[in-house]
């Protein structure tokens, strides 16, 4: 596969590993936060950690829109289905635990018409094919996934579709990064020491590299926008290490084949045509984050499921003992959670970190370093 295989090349990996080992300063630790679930996935699936020197650590951040969606919003989506709408959702959301251990997949089994789709285009088709039913698209995702929703709403408006609406849960990346960096644990208590960031790959392809300049300056941490093939992660690690060693805190772009400073302006324009900022939005694990999410503009109100239907204000709570909030902020590791591997497993997930394929807990479990470690412990 072109533009994929070359960036998974073993020989180049060895070269980069050697280079990283040479340049990493043995007298210090490097804690590098990869914000984006795609990076978590790449690291675990390819075993990138094995190629790193011992003093380079990946800290997994809240880069998973599935993981950060608060329970009440999932409850709302289930409610809409129970009220009779056809709810279309991406596969990722199906098994995320909502209130009372319910989930979209369980609600589907109980009889609600919940359909998994690959694209907003599929949802539009379902709406056209079922004119007598209400069709709601459960929109989630960061800036990468938002433009497709914008397109869908515009298409619906242009066609005058009368039965299509969107339940909007799109969130913004820079706001989340900022929130983490400003959290007490990071800023004052120094509990989570982050030396640098891997900027998200595809979010950046839409918003460009410019929005990160602020972070680098304000928090004096280097940011390297990294592609999400394993070689991209390694190359970006090298770039971060160099910046840290040289005391620089700039925004660098490793993913130049896709990301430009200004990003995809056509996509950005479409998004600002259809959406506007919410004053605040609750993120699982981060609490209320100001100006971090989008809602549908007034002129497209008829396509806004929140205005079209009555959705309750449920106050969902995480399961007692679930450490997702801390894990999402990088404050704790999955192995620090009492529920991890005991009550909470991929078969029986308690929190979103375990369900989402890119949640830290799921990644740890599936590709699982911890088990090797635990096994080593047991052998000692």
């Amino acid at each position: 596969m072109k533009y994929v295989d070359e960036f998974r090349d073993k020989a180049l990996a060895k070269k980069l590993a050697k280079q990283i080992a040479e340049e990493a300063d043995q007298s210090r630790q490097y804690n590098l936060m990869e914000f984006c679930g795609g990076h978590t996935h790449a690291i675990f699936r390819y075993g990138v950690q094995d190629l790193m020197p011992n003093n380079v650590h990946f800290v997994h951040g809240p880069g998973c829109p599935v993981c950060v969606l608060p329970i009440p919003r999932i409850d709302n989506a289930i409610e809409l289905a129970e009220q009779g709408a056809i709810v279309c959702t991406y596969g990722d959301m199906m098994r995320v635990p909502a209130s009372g251990k319910n989930s979209l997949i369980k609600a589907k089994a109980a009889g609600s018409d919940i359909r998994m789709v690959y694209s907003t285009m599929d949802a539009l088709k379902i709406a056209r094919d079922n004119p007598e039913r209400e069709v709601v698209f459960f929109a989630i995702g960061f800036e990468t996934t938002t433009p497709p929703t914008a397109v869908a709403i515009k298409v619906a408006a242009a066609e005058g579709l009368k039965n299509f609406s969107v339940f909007c849960n799109h969130v913004l990346t820079p706001a989340a990064i900022q929130h983490i960096l400003q959290s007490p644990e990071v800023r004052e208590l120094g509990q989570v020491h982050i030396d640098g960031f891997y900027g998200p790959s595809h979010v950046s392809s839409i918003i460009g590299s410019a929005p990160y300049d602020y972070f680098a300056e304000e928090f004096q941490k280097p940011v390297v926008i990294a592609g999400f093939e394993p070689l991209d992660v390694m190359q970006s690690t090298l770039m971060l290490i160099r910046q840290i060693n040289e005391g620089r805190f700039e925004v660098e772009n490793e993913y130049t084949r896709v990301v430009t400073p200004e990003g995809n302006e056509k996509a950005q324009d479409l998004v600002s045509e259809v959406f506007e900022l919410r004053r605040a939005f609750e993120w699982r694990g981060l609490g209320e984050v100001p100006y971090s999410a989008l809602k549908i503009k007034e002129e497209f109100a008829e396509y806004d499921a929140e205005r079209r239907f009555a959705v309750s204000e449920s106050k969902g709570k995480d399961v007692k003992g679930c450490e997702c909030p801390a894990i999402l902020r990088g404050v704790k590791k999955p192995t620090d959670c009492k529920l991890f591997g005991t009550v909470c497993t991929p078969d029986n997930p308690m929190g979103s970190c375990m369900v989402s394929s890119e949640g830290s807990c799921a990644a740890y479990w599936s590709y699982g370093r911890f088990r090797l470690e635990r096994a080593k412990e047991a052998a000692e």
């Binding site: 590993a17 675990f44 699936r45 390819y46 991406y90 596969g91 199906m94 359909r115 998994m116 090797l372």
Partner: protein, 349 residues
């Protein structure tokens, strides 16, 4: 007027007819369906005995028996259908013990309203698969459920076979040091099924690998009787099978990603959907475990058979009570290959 004509004055309209409740009620309609559809196509001596059971002499030696329910959706997919799949699947389950499959039975649960034309296609396909494999369907049953209570057709097949003397094949026999082999490319079936699911519409030339493996097994077992275990990696894919055996035999395993045969197209389709090929179903492949010193010979024998042409040695069994299956990635790092949790769903994240 012949006996048959007196019994069933008009033939069933296979083109336009639909399954209805009378086809399962034990009366004339059911008898006619059996005669004009099932018996007509399955057509063998034992079935022709015409009883509710098939009678045959007990074969000598150790017998094996296996049963499978088939609920695949869609019913027809590139490279097969629920009919051929059920025949292959049960023959394979029997063959994975090293046994020579002898007979199959087939129970059908039909949904009221299911088009007879499609049922006929399925039965014809099953009959052909059975004939090609040399394993007849000797007895069967039909029931009908009300509309809405079935998915068109469910098929349950049972198979029996006999294990040749001197062969002892079981997951429990797997030992540290054994070589792990696979008979060909992984993931073909699962991808073929997904490509025919409406809401995932992508075009591909991938066809299901559904096939009866007893011929391949016979060759393998004859040349290398020291084979420790065989299993076909169906639902849950290669990963599930290896984890099952690791657990059963209380061993660990180490795989080499670069050695696992995977078609570019299947790889690409999995990438598109965010699936891991290790967890995607196969219906015409087997995994074999044998002592390390016999691996090359076994590989040779497998490759000589048309259904094993792309066989490869993909890993080795290790001493490890925790039963971890790990894999050295093509990238140079190591990852664990765990059990599948729930169902693998296509993802965007």
């Amino acid at each position: 007027m012949s006996r048959m004509e007196k019994r069933f004055p008009t033939k069933i309209n296979m083109r336009r007819g639909k399954v209805d409740m009378t086809h399962g009620s034990g009366g004339r309609a059911m008898a006619q369906l059996i005669e004009e559809l099932f018996a007509r196509h399955f057509d063998n001596e034992l079935l022709a005995q015409g009883n509710d059971q098939a009678m045959f002499d007990a074969p000598k030696g150790r017998m094996v028996m296996s049963v499978d329910g088939h609920v695949v959706s869609p019913l027809f997919f590139p490279g097969g259908d629920i009919g051929s799949l059920s025949v292959h699947g049960t023959i394979n389950d029997v063959a994975m013990s090293g046994a020579v499959p002898l007979y199959l039975s087939a129970g059908f649960i039909l949904e009221e309203g299911f088009p007879l034309e499609e049922l006929e296609k399925i039965v014809v396909s099953m009959a052909r698969a059975a004939k090609d494999a040399g394993v007849p369907v000797v007895t069967g049953d039909t029931k009908v459920v009300e509309r809405g209570k079935g998915d068109g057709v469910f098929i349950t097949t049972t198979g029996i076979g006999v294990v040749p003397d001197g062969i002892d094949i079981s997951g429990a026999n797997v030992r540290a040091g054994d070589a792990i082999l696979i008979s060909g490319h992984i993931g073909d079936h699962g991808v073929a099924i997904m490509s025919s699911r409406e809401n995932l519409a992508f075009e591909t030339e991938i066809v299901s690998d559904s096939a009866a493996l007893h011929g391949l097994v016979a060759d393998m077992v004859a040349a290398v009787p020291e084979i420790h275990a065989l299993r076909d990696p169906t639902r849950g894919g290669l990963a599930a099978t290896l984890n099952e055996i690791a657990y059963q035999a209380e061993v660990g395993m180490k795989l080499f990603e670069e050695k696992i045969p995977l078609r570019n197209e299947v790889d690409a389709a999995c990438e598109f959907l965010g699936l891991d090929p290790l967890y995607v179903a196969n219906e015409g492949k087997l995994v074999a475990f044998c002592p390390a010193e016999r691996a090359e010979r076994l590989l040779e024998v497998m490759r000589a058979h048309p259904l094993g042409a792309d066989s490869a040695i993909i890993g080795e069994v290790l001493k490890d009570e925790m039963g971890f299956v790990t894999m050295e990635t093509g990238f140079g790092g190591t990852r664990i290959v765990d059990w599948l949790a729930g169902e693998q769903l296509p993802r965007i994240c």
